[in-house]
């Protein structure tokens, strides 16, 4: 069966330094892949390359059997969406953020859908008009993640989205991830340092000094 994403000998060099070397693995449809590694190991670079925000310097990456270079970057990024660690929110209100995905598609903002999305992540529907400056760290992260799924992507890459959050907020984010994967059929690529997330990972990929050191599947 053809994998959703295939990486073959992916490498990245910058200013004469090797950041990533010969990374190869595949991601199946609706899989949850957890990637871990020490700070500076190259995992954020890897997911930025996967989300085409950066270009690899060697190797090949295919998505749905076609090289990612052959996709229109905008269409690809709408299918393979990347959520940043400590995201910055746009504009003034929560609405400004949830409306952005509609604006870029020239579609009218679906207020009902946005309110439902907010309540599903334990935020009140009237949060839509809440100023982003009044949000807690956990609330900011939830709003940022909702931006990525207002239009369901095929793949959602999450870069340490629970870092710095308290246990309650982590649980809410974990529930969001489970729902995205099981109900909305989104393939998840999760970057984490969190021991609990690593322990519960169904598949754990370890990156060390820019190289793939482990790819463990657990059932």
């Amino acid at each position: 069966m053809m994998s959703l994403i295939d990486l073959e000998n992916v490498g990245f060099q910058a200013d004469g330094q090797t950041i990533l070397k010969d990374i190869s693995f595949s991601v199946e449809e609706q899989e949850i892949v957890t990637i871990t590694g020490a700070s500076g190991s190259g995992k954020s670079t890897l997911v930025r390359i996967l989300s085409t925000l950066q270009s690899r310097t060697s190797g090949t990456i295919t998505y749905k059997g076609k090289s990612i270079d052959d996709y229109d970057p905008i269409q690809y990024r709408r299918e393979v969406s990347y959520c940043f660690q400590q995201p910055s929110l746009f504009g003034d209100t929560v609405k400004d953020n949830l409306q952005f995905p509609y604006d870029i598609r020239n579609q009218a903002f679906d207020v009902k859908r946005a309110q439902e999305a907010l309540t599903a992540v334990d935020l009140n529907s009237n949060y839509l008009d809440k100023a982003i400056t009044e949000l807690s760290g956990g609330e900011r992260q939830r709003v940022a993640m909702l931006r990525n799924v207002m239009f369901y992507p095929q793949v959602l890459i999450m870069d340490e989205v629970t870092a710095g959050l308290d246990e309650d907020n982590k649980q809410i984010i974990h529930k969001m991830m489970t729902r995205f994967n099981q109900n909305d059929h989104i393939t998840l690529i999760i970057i984490t340092h969190d021991q609990d997330e690593m322990d519960h990972a169904k598949r754990l990929i370890t990156i060390e000094n820019g190289q793939l050191k482990g790819d463990e599947r657990r059932e």
Binding site: L53, S55, Q75, R77, S81, S88, F100, I104
Partner: protein, 265 residues
């Protein structure tokens, strides 16, 4: 016009030059370290202004359309070149700046000529072109500086918008708006304070030359409208043409840098 009141003798000029000594003395006493720059600046100003004075005298005397156009183009090119120097590595800014200044100056001056508010004679075209081009140059320089600062400071927000599937224009729009606003701000501010804080150069010049102040004000109002149009046109064009230089062909954010690259040991 009472032109006799405008006569200035060489003695008066020499006496005025004595005022520079005050500035030099302050610079020396306060150890500002700008004495050399000040002397060079004064000498350059004298030489440049005399050259321009004699050149303008000749061009106005011969009143040739071709020569007038050539001088206008030289002004525009110089303004574009100086605006480019503020771009700190944004690609293609020489031609972008020249194009934006050419169009903004051309549209405003052209409209006034077509409506017979101005005559296509060197005595009017050259100073007016200088005013429009220099204001556009300042606005475009500010736009470039703002683009550079904001693309650096708000890099993550731009990346997030790109990662959500925004195109480069949608992902940069907040920076583009801010930059255009910054470019236009000095002109808007000076418009608001005109007559209260500043008596603009052109209006003062006309009053100096003995023109009825009300007539001078009417001219100044026209110039103010032209400056607003020129800076907004120049800023919009320069920003929309240059922001693409912050991206590569893969729609990835690539920040230009004019700073020398670090050496790796």
């Amino acid at each position: 016009m009472n032109s006799s009141s405008l006569q200035i003798s060489n003695t008066s000029l020499i006496l005025a030059a004595g005022l520079v000594l005050i500035a030099l003395y302050i610079g020396y006493r306060e150890k500002l370290g700008i004495d050399r720059d000040m002397i060079i600046g004064v000498l350059r100003a004298i030489v440049q202004l005399y050259i321009v004075g004699y050149l303008l005298k000749y061009v106005i005397k011969v009143d040739n359309i071709f020569l007038t156009v050539v001088l206008m183009l030289i002004i525009i090119f110089n303004a574009g070149y100086n605006a480019m120097k503020r771009s700190q590595g944004i690609p293609n800014t020489l031609w972008i700046s020249i194009g934006a200044i050419f169009i903004s100056t051309g549209v405003t001056v052209g409209a006034m000529v077509l409506t017979h508010a101005l005559k296509f004679i060197p005595a009017q075209m050259i100073p007016i072109t200088g005013m429009m081009a220099s204001q556009s140059m300042v606005a475009i320089g500010l736009c470039y500086r703002n683009l550079n600062t904001n693309f650096h400071d708000e890099r993550q927000q731009v990346l997030e918008k790109l990662s959500l599937g925004g195109n480069i224009k949608q992902s940069s729009m907040h920076i583009l708006r801010e930059s255009i606003k910054t470019g236009m701000q000095p002109t808007v501010d000076s418009t608001k304070t005109m007559g209260i804080v500043t008596l603009p150069g052109m209006m003062s010049g006309l009053i100096f030359a003995g023109i009825d102040p009300v007539y001078a004000i009417e001219y100044q109002i026209m110039i103010t409208f032209m400056l607003l149009a020129a800076t907004s046109l120049g800023s919009v064009m320069a920003v929309y043409w240059s922001y693409k230089g912050f991206y590569n062909r893969e729609d990835q954010l690539v920040l230009p840098t004019s700073a020398p690259k670090k050496k790796h040991h």
